[in-house]
Amino acid sequence: MDQSTLVNLSGLDRADLPRILSALPFGVAVLDAERRTLFLNRALESLTGFSTADVAGVFCRHVLRGSFCLHGCPCLPQGGDCAQGACSESREGTLINRHRRKIPVRLTSLPILDRAGNFLCTLDVLEDLSALKDMETRLSVSASPGQMVGRCAVMEHLLRILPAVAQSDSPVLLTGESGTGKDLLAEALHRASPRARESFVRVNATPMPEALLDAELFGQAEGPGGVPRPGKFQLAQNGTLYLSEIADMPLTQQARLLRLLDEKAVLPAGGDRPMQLNVRVVAATGRDPEEMIQAGLLREDLFHRLNAVRLHLPPLRERGEDVGFLLAHYLKIFAAKFRKQVLGFSGEAQALLSAYDFPGNVRELRNMVEYAVMVCAGDMVLPEHLPLPLRFPQACAPRDAAVTPAAQNKPSGAPKPARKKA
């Protein structure tokens, strides 16, 4: 079927083009050879705020007012190339509409030629990218290690190497006290990795019968009703499996985990055929791994496998200037959350916070700021807005000691509460 037959059959030669263009869901401008506006469809009228009647005959740069109009107009710099159909191209930029709104758009400029190849007009197609850009911003915020913040040298180094570590498939061992952000770091690693679109499965090997844990982790060849039941490892296929406390995992399961790392395969409970898996393993522990090996809680061969990349999160007391930074950071977050005009901490409150050593690390600091902002009625956090253990450490110490055996070994009268062994 040749082109003229197609046109005759479809009736394109008799088509009411302005009406068709107006029904399109994206903006279309029809321009003459000098890029003067001939027609704007309804979507573009709404995007720019101009009607065709307002701007017919006006140069498109004064109608679209795009960032691409002044620097790198798709057609003008190339001179008359449009007539030969050489300048059909897309580019992204912004326009400022009649209502002074800047809108991200994608412009595609299409020269329209007749059958003899003579230039008729140019169609400028504009897509409003606002929704896409908003989504991109939201995704990049959630995909970035955004929730991991820190300005001290150790944290800066950690955040700097994070993207490179995320790109590899090597197992990662995260160490650090409770509350330092191991879970956040594991998620940030996943989100910055090529596996970000796949699952991030967190495994907490809580004490349970070994057979049950086995099925929970590695699945069952025959589950209820004879149907295979996937375990956490299968659920993390192509994604990341995060073991939140490797020391809690019984040695039998550690051996099977080692096999997974070696052979990239697991054997479901009750099965006889190994299942191939593509999973990245990130494991964390709040304890010293070398001590755990000596205590027989962690297999040495597994440790060496996981230790391919080791990232250590320092406790808050070793993060120096980060305390002030994190206080301001969380104050801003919770002031916005609770819709309060809390601007900062008074000198006394700041002194109390600075003298405290935050045994619960960033998690404790964040909870304290949340509480302080919640109870603060004015624009400054005062000492009375801070939690009691921080204001009266000695008065709270005996109660703490009762629940934290380690605290009993603390020298009497020590101003700081006992550090909880994670």
Binding site: V58, R61, S67, I96, R98, R101
Partner: protein, 116 residues
């Protein structure tokens, strides 16, 4: 008392965008509206913020421009600068109209199809 008028330029036209303009025309007029000084300034780079600083620095009282973002428009208005925006046309013609008191925001000075 005289005043300063700034026209953002793109070639010989009013620049379609304030934030992308890299050249401005500064015209000083006396109390009777007669032009006493004309200055063409080429900017190192296009930036709406820098242009706002220039407006305040040069004590410009009126800005004639094309599209401008709301934020910059309101900033200049807050600084008591008159902003005649959305102007599409030749810079000279826009300035002449302004000096005659006939330039309105959103004025399209280019010939239009279907308009006399």
């Amino acid at each position: 008392m005289g005043k300063k008028i700034m026209v953002t330029l793109y070639r010989d036209e009013v620049a379609p965008r304030f934030d992308l303009c890299s050249e401005v025309l500064l015209v000083t007029v006396d109390a009777t509206g007669h032009e006493v000084r004309r200055q063409d300034l080429v900017l190192a780079h296009s930036s709406a913020d820098d242009l706002c600083d220039l407006v305040l620095d040069r004590e410009v009282s009126t800005v004639i421009t094309g599209g401008i973002e709301e934020e910059h428009y309101h900033y200049l208005r807050w600084k008591r600068v008159e902003v005649i925006d959305g102007v599409a046309g030749l810079a000279g013609e826009a300035l002449a109209l302004y000096l005659r008191g006939e330039l309105e925001p959103g004025a399209i000075l280019f010939p239009r199809l279907g308009h006399d």
